[in-house]
């Protein structure tokens, strides 16, 4: 149950990219409402349903509504990759990060570790914000393709 809870929560954070504060609030709400979960139903969908409400609340406050529909979220939770598959991808990731050009690695470092915005990175590196966004997007796609290739090589599929 503990593992399922952690895994589901991680998945919800991937379904609803949200700021750290609302992530923590969502975690608290999901923990408090854990007793109302009906055994035998989809736990991830249930937990993500709560996350969705929190995100909508957050978006109402910030006047944004770029959130996926409930139907889309349910469809995604039904196609969730297994924890084993996540593990395999995670192992392949390290090698793929090492293969990235140092400039892209630096961008990822700034984005995910220092939590810099595109504007902040652009200012620090003398790039335009759009160029930063495109470079970040390319590096993620590059990592995905590299991981897929590695998994293909190891499994021989």
């Amino acid at each position: 149950m503990k593992m399922l809870f952690g895994h589901s929560f991680e998945l919800c954070s991937l379904l609803y990219p949200m700021p750290m504060m609302s992530l923590q609030e969502t975690f608290l709400t999901v923990s408090r409402k854990a007793s109302s979960f009906e055994i035998g139903t989809n736990f991830t969908a249930w937990a993500c349903g709560i996350a969705r409400l929190k995100v909508l609340e957050n978006f109402r406050q910030t006047k944004r509504a770029n959130v996926l529909s409930e139907k889309a979220i349910i469809a995604l939770t039904e196609d969730v990759p297994s924890p084993e598959s996540f593990k395999e991808r995670e192992q392949a990731l390290e090698k793929c990060i090492a293969k990235l050009p140092s400039k892209l690695r630096d961008l990822l470092w700034r984005r995910y570790s220092r939590r810099q915005t595109s504007d902040e990175m652009a200012e620090a590196l003398g790039m335009t914000s759009n160029a930063v966004r495109v470079a970040l997007s390319r590096s993620r796609v590059g990592l995905r393709d590299c991981i897929n290739l590695q998994l293909k090589e190891t499994t021989g599929i």
């Binding site: 991680e10 954070s13 991937l14 379904l15 990219p17 949200m18 944004r64 509504a65 770029n66 959130v67 996926l68 529909s69 139907k71 889309a72 469809a75 995604l76 196609d79 969730v80 990759p81 996540f86 991808r89 995670e90 990731l93 390290e94 990060i97 990822l108 470092w109 995910y112 570790s113 966004r133 970040l136 997007s137 993620r140 796609v141 990592l143 995905r144 991981i147 897929n148």
Partner: protein, 138 residues
């Protein structure tokens, strides 16, 4: 070719969503695509997991750097650790020389002074010399 372009556009939309910069209209369009296509759902999870995993990886490197086990930026680490090793060596040497001179400075005048009469102290006892012991009286 057309397929590749479509996939690139989808990747772009997915990345924007994961970055939180998708417009409301685009979010609705993406929702429909996700509801209808297992392929889109697969691509979603592939990119979403990259976001999650890279974040986790970078955060753990940062955590290692803050707890002092390992520096986050390897190139800087090599330089910093090299410098700090030299600094530590110099500081250690300076402390050593200083402590030795302090000890030497205190020790030298003591060496020139006459030695206290150890014999007297040793021979002195705590007994009252005026008291006649029981053994003496017997």
């Amino acid at each position: 070719m057309k397929m590749e372009k479509k996939q690139r556009e989808l990747d772009d939309v997915l990345n924007k969503y994961l970055e939180g910069s998708l417009t409301e209209v685009d979010a609705r369009a993406l929702s429909t695509q996700i509801e209808e296509s297992p392929e889109v759902r697969k691509r979603y999870w592939e990119l979403a997991s990259i976001h999650g995993m890279v974040e986790q990886s970078m955060q753990s490197v940062l955590l290692q750097a803050t707890t002092g086990r390992e520096s986050a930026e390897p190139e800087i680490r090599t330089r910093v650790s090299g410098l700090s090793r030299i600094k530590t060596g110099i500081a250690g040497l300076a402390i050593g020389v200083f402590s030795a001179s302090v000890v030497w400075a205190f020790k030298l005048p003591q060496d020139n002074q006459p030695q206290p009469k150890i014999q007297e102290i040793v021979s002195e006892g705590f007994e009252n010399r005026n008291r006649i012991s029981i053994e003496d009286s017997l």
